[in-house]
């Protein structure tokens, strides 16, 4: 397959492996922000190809994993109502809330449907005027434009039965929070290629300067990731710290202006709670007041739902890169993909799930 096979080429991978080994003289800790990259690293065994000196830390970039428990509880509450059709991306359905997950709501008779696009949820709303249709709008900058588009499409169609349960988060504030937190030791970042496809990488330039840290915008195929690591190690060895774009076949510095304009039209920035990381200032997106009719939290008045995370789960430390999943006392014991205690065990992008599937002994 074109644009995929070239980036899974064993010869190119071997070359990069050799170049990284030649270059690397010290221990370096590099965080891949994105869960998609974590998944690719473990699925393709990339960690095996890297020299021991390089420690890859799996970052908080899995949208399923960072969505706080109380958002899941809100989703569960709304989805259980008789007059609601609740729609969601597939891997949110098994994320445990404090009591249950959305799949259990479905088995108890709730109308919970998996969709591939928020625009499909808008269609469901148009076809079911007697029902209230809610879409679980989670994710990073990658999913936000389509969610904005769904709201605008519902408005254009004059739909009064469509709303989104919005838990959108942003990458740059999370990088800032990580770098400001005391217990992390990150020396370089691989930034998420698809997030930068939408947003460009101009936002990362001041971060690289402020924290004197190299940031390499990186794709998702094995050769992409190896090249991202290579460029990051090269900067670390040479003592430079700027933003590089490994994923230039897709990403530009400015990003997708039309998508950014959509976000600005529909969303406002807000402080947001991240699972395992707490509240990060200005790190989330909520609907602007003029679109509040489409805000499921307003429509269903869910403000009084709060929840805490299970105590044993160390997802916070995992998402900050302080610990690896295998260091968690619950890993592979109380916590498995069948009975996930934390969200990182649910999504295939979650670090714990990726370790469970590809790295377990």
């Amino acid at each position: 397959m074109k644009y995929v096979d070239e980036f899974r080429d064993p010869v190119a991978a071997k070359n990069l492996q050799r170049k990284i080994k030649e270059l690397c003289t010290k221990q370096w800790s590099i965080m891949e922000i994105c869960g998609g990259q974590t998944h690719s690293i473990l699925k393709n065994g990339i960690h095996e190809l890297l020299p021991e000196e390089i420690n890859l830390i799996h970052g908080p970039g899995c949208p399923v994993c960072v969505t706080p428990v109380e958002m899941i509880d809100k989703a569960v509450e709304i989805a259980g109502r008789e007059d609601v059709i609740f729609t969601s991306f597939g891997d949110m359905l098994r994320v445990p809330g404090s009591q249950k997950d959305l799949l259990s709501v479905k088995s108890e008779g709730g109308d919970v449907r998996m969709v591939y696009s928020p625009l499909d949820a808008v269609k469901i709303a148009a076809n079911n005027p007697e029902k209230k249709v809610v879409f679980f709008a989670i994710g990073f900058e990658t999913t936000a434009p389509a969610n904005a588009m769904a709201v605008l499409e519902a408005e254009r169609k004059g739909l009064q039965n469509f709303s989104i349960l919005c838990s959108q988060v942003l990458v740059p504030p999370a990088i800032k929070a990580l770098m400001n937190s005391k217990d992390v030791n990150i020396q370089g970042f691989l930034a998420a290629g698809h997030v930068c496809t939408v947003m460009g990488y101009w936002e990362y330039v001041p971060l690289a300067e402020e924290f004197r840290i190299p940031i390499v915008v990186t794709g998702f195929e094995p050769v992409d990731i190896l090249e991202g690591v290579y460029r990051c190690v090269k900067q670390l060895e040479e003592g430079t710290y700027f933003v590089e774009n490994q994923y230039s076949r897709v990403v530009t510095k400015e990003g997708n202006k039309a998508a950014q304009a959509l976000l600005q039209k529909v969303f406002r920035k807000t402080d947001m709670k991240w699972r395992g990381m707490g509240v990060i200032p200005e790190s989330g997106l909520k609907l602007k007041e003029e679109y509040s009719d489409f805000d499921a939290e307003m429509v269903f008045s869910t403000d009084d739902i709060f929840a805490d995370e299970p105590e044993i789960c160390i997802v916070g430390e995992i998402l900050k890169g302080v610990k690896k999943p295998i260091e968690c006392p619950a890993f592979q014991k109380e916590c498995t993909p069948e009975h996930p205690l934390g969200a990182a065990m649910v999504s295939s992008e979650g670090a714990c799930s990726a370790y469970f599937h590809y790295f377990r002994n």
């Binding site: 393709n44 990339i46 190809l49 891997d91 994710g139 993909p337 069948e338 295939s348």
Partner: protein
């Protein structure tokens, strides 16, 4: 292969013109039930054993060991690219017998119909079952029909059971796999899973991939005629290749190594998996079987299979190696990783 699948049309005359939909009375055991059976099932599945209309089918036993299996089919949608629930119900049960080393002979068919189900769709399903049974050389000898209230079922569910006679001189079991055995699959993986996924309501996704549903007893017979050195066979249906390999590795207590670059996967299927974020190793197949073959006979089995249209893309995808019970894949880029069992269904990823 797909070109050869018999194409049905609704040109065949509908035998019951008074009823366009299944009613509760069709399951009541009275004259309407009889009507349905005599006008739809009997003429299509026609054979002496069935038409004897006994409470049981009386079969000739013989002296061989009997293989007996059953499976229920609840696929949604019931019509999908490359087939329908009816031929799936016949082929699936035929394959379960064949991979056990048996020659499939007799099939039962029990239908649970939802009130309101269109008779012409039932007709189409029955016609395709007839054709699938003919192709596989099996006879549908007994059956049952029940009708449930609208909303209590989902159009149609079919249960088939199958009886086959065990072939002499072979022993198929996961415990029989040996270090050095080659793992062969008879063609492209993941196609049934993708065809079903793409035709589900609500997924705005089109794919040219068709279900691979097919009866494999002919192909398997040819392989077994070639050599007795086939130690294990399994059809990797639900849960896909990865789940079947894990079951075999665990039961057999051996390590199975597979090669990512040897897995047969159509480019369209690879693209669909990339787009939907699915792993083809976990997607269902309905016309594929895994064969564990002694190393010396592997190439011969491969060549034998390739002469059959259902095996033309057969490949050696791996081997049994020294080590504890596990499945490991050598990736395209030269690293290796565990191939695990899946828990539940694969959920498409967000991004």
């Amino acid at each position: 292969m797909n070109e050869e699948v018999f194409k049905f049309s609704l040109n065949c005359p509908l035998p019951i013109t008074d009823y366009k939909h299944v009613s509760l009375a069709h399951g009541g055991g009275g004259s309407l039930s009889k009507n349905l059976i005599q006008k739809i099932f009997y003429p299509q599945f026609e054979n002496e054993i069935l038409l004897a209309e006994g409470d049981s089918a009386i079969l000739n036993g013989g002296s061989k060991k009997i293989a007996f299996t059953t499976d229920s089919y609840v696929v949604n949608p019931i019509f999908f690219p490359g087939g329908n629930i009816g031929e799936l119900a016949v082929n699936g049960t035929v394959n379960d017998l064949a991979v056990s080393g048996a020659e499939p002979r007799y099939i039962s068919a029990a239908f649970i119909l939802e009130e309101g189900f269109p008779i012409d769709e039932l007709w189409e399903i029955v016609l395709s079952m007839k054709e699938a049974a003919k192709k596989a050389g099996v006879t549908i000898v007994t059956g049952d029909t029940k009708v449930v209230d609208k909303g209590k079922g989902d159009k149609v569910f079919i249960n088939t059971a199958g009886i086959g006679f065990q072939r002499d001189g072979i022993d198929i079991a996961p415990e029989n796999i040996r270090v050095g055995d080659k793992v062969i699959i008879n063609g492209n993986i993941a196609e049934h899973g993708i065809a079903i996924m793409a035709s589900r309501e609500g997924l705005n996704f089109k794919s040219p991939i068709k279900s691979d549903t097919a009866a494999l007893n002919g192909l398997i017979q040819e392989a077994l005629d070639f050599t007795n050195e086939i130690h294990m066979m399994r059809d990797p249906t639900r849960g896909g290749l990865a789940s079947s390999l894990n079951e075999i590795a665990e039961k057999g207590g051996k390590k199975i190594l597979i090669y990512e670059d040897k897995l047969p996967l159509a480019p369209e299927a690879a693209a669909a998996c990339e787009l939907l974020g699915l792993d083809p190793l976990y997607l269902a197949n309905e016309g594929k079987a895994l064969f564990f073959v002694g190393a010396e006979q592997a190439e011969g089995v491969l060549q034998t299979m390739r002469k059959n249209p259902l095996g033309k893309n057969a490949r050696i995808i791996g081997e049994v190696v020294e080590g504890g019970a596990s499945v490991v894949m050598k990736t395209k880029i030269g690293s290796s990783r565990i191939v695990d069992m899946i828990s539940g269904e694969q959920l498409p990823r967000i991004c």
